[in-house]
């Protein structure tokens, strides 16, 4: 039994599939995560990346004379909806399945 446990731990540690985040995140104007309902198993660094990229989209849209109140990024398996909040943003993360309704 001990041998099997060791083996299962070994395989678990090598599993390379990244789980998709689900929940909401609030980021401040510097992209730091303020609050989050995303599972704590999801890497914080990646949540930070999402927050920073979303803020860049808002900031550059404003610089292009097209300020946006809301942005939604549609990936094949994840939808990210972000609303601007006084420089920061609230971000909603929705994993998509094959039978999820088509995004609009």
């Amino acid at each position: 039994m001990g041998f099997l446990k060791k083996l299962s731990r070994l395989f678990r540690s090598r599993a390379g599939v990244q789980q998709l985040p689900a929940g909401s995140v609030t980021v401040d104007r510097d992209g730091h995560v303020v609050t989050s309902t995303v599972s704590s198993a999801y890497p914080k660094a990646l949540l930070g990346e999402i927050g920073r990229d979303v803020l860049v989209l808002f900031r550059e849209a404003r610089a292009a004379q097209m300020p946006l109140a809301e942005v939604t990024i549609h990936f094949t398996s994840l939808r990210i909806t972000a609303r601007e909040l006084r420089g920061g943003a609230i971000i909603f993360l929705f994993p998509q399945t094959a039978l999820s309704p088509m995004p609009t």
Partner: protein
């Protein structure tokens, strides 16, 4: 001696499986009908013995039909696939055909029109067992229309190119009507012929369809071929300027017809200037579009969320869509009142027509 073909039916509803089994056993070729109530079981059966046809439901627990079809297409490329679903949504039909299924049929239609359905199955079980080519991807649209006309058939040819859908109505081997990109008749027919790729589907004939095309099909094909040759090889500068002018007018009319405010086509950096219609601040918006597409694609790779489909955004004055298309990115601006649930489809149509 002819071997007995095997059909595998996959559905999570046991009563439905019994009904299907009963119906398919009546097929003239007397196939061997097997059933599976889960995707895992179906895949195991496909691994263990050769099947000719898989009939699959879409909505199932754990692994849905689209996931099964994606796996089957990779592992068993020779297997014929049919979707038999209760989901009456054009979107699932398109997704299933995009996965390469041979036939998409609604369960309600199967019960109403079981004879036609069983004929289709019989045809899928029967033909090209000894080689030959499958599908019509290797043929041009001209070839397909000519074949349909020569066989004096009556049908509706539905042609799909990305989000664009066109239809050709054939009656006793004659082309009687065409519809594409908001146009009808000969104009629509010429637009369809300009499409270089797409998928085709034969639908039942519509005998009551009003006739808008009276020219013989050969004359139309000849005229279209000449026009395409001229467009491909403009002989003088004047012709080139005329063609460019016509293209701009056509794009403007397209923009107006769809109800969009502006379109900007943004090539990758260093590969030409952005092309814009309907906006004064094209340069700034093009920079934003290019950068937005780049950072979002990188983000998608990092978080393993799959390829980027599109980005949408809005403020009180506008709704925006950023769509990657080939190596370009398109930014389409819509008025705030435009129906947001149709914007994606409309933007895709606009972009596909823009670049055609």
């Amino acid at each position: 001696m002819q071997t007995q073909q095997k059909i595998l039916v996959l559905d999570d509803d046991a009563d439905w499986l019994d009904l299907c089994r009963e119906i398919f056993l009546q097929l003239p070729s007397k196939p061997d009908v097997r059933t599976a109530s889960s995707a895992r079981r179906a895949l195991a059966m496909l691994e263990s013995e050769p099947f000719r046809l898989l009939i699959c439901d879409l909505k199932m627990p754990r692994m849905d039909g689209l996931q099964v079809l994606a796996i089957v297409r990779r592992r068993f490329p020779g297997l014929r696939t049919v979707v038999l679903s209760g989901l009456e949504d054009e979107e699932f039909r398109s997704r299933a055909y995009a996965l390469g299924v041979d036939l998409f049929w609604l369960k309600s239609d199967m019960q109403r029109n079981s004879k036609m359905f069983t004929e289709c199955l019989e045809s899928l079980l029967g033909h090209d067992t000894d080689g030959g080519f499958r599908g019509i991807q290797s043929k041009s649209l001209m070839d397909i229309i000519q074949m349909e006309c020569l066989s004096r058939s009556s049908s509706v040819l539905r042609i799909t190119r990305g989000p664009l859908v066109a239809k050709l109505w054939l009656q006793d081997g004659e082309l009687i009507d065409a519809e594409a990109e908001g146009a009808r008749g000969e104009v629509a027919f010429r637009r369809i012929l300009a499409w270089k790729s797409g998928t085709f589907e034969n639908l039942p004939a519509e005998p009551g369809r009003e006739r808008t095309i009276t020219k013989p099909i050969n004359a139309l094909l000849l005229e279209s071929a000449q026009a395409m040759d001229e467009n491909a090889n403009p002989s003088t500068e004047t012709q080139f300027v005329d063609a460019s002018h016509r293209k701009t007018i056509w794009k403007l009319s397209l923009l107006t017809r769809e109800g969009a405010e502006f379109v900007i086509a943004v090539p990758p950096e260093g590969q030409g200037e952005p092309e814009a219609l309907g906006t004064q601040s094209a340069d700034q918006l093009a920079i934003w579009t290019r950068h937005a597409a780049e950072i979002v694609k990188e983000l998608g790779d990092k978080i393993e969320a799959g390829p980027l489909s599109h980005i949408s955004g809005n403020n009180l004055e506008k709704q925006l869509m950023v769509l990657p298309h080939g190596d370009k990115s398109f930014l389409v601006g819509w008025p705030p009142g435009a129906a947001s649930n149709q914007l994606l489809e409309q933007s895709r149509k606009l972009v596909a027509s823009w670049d055609s």
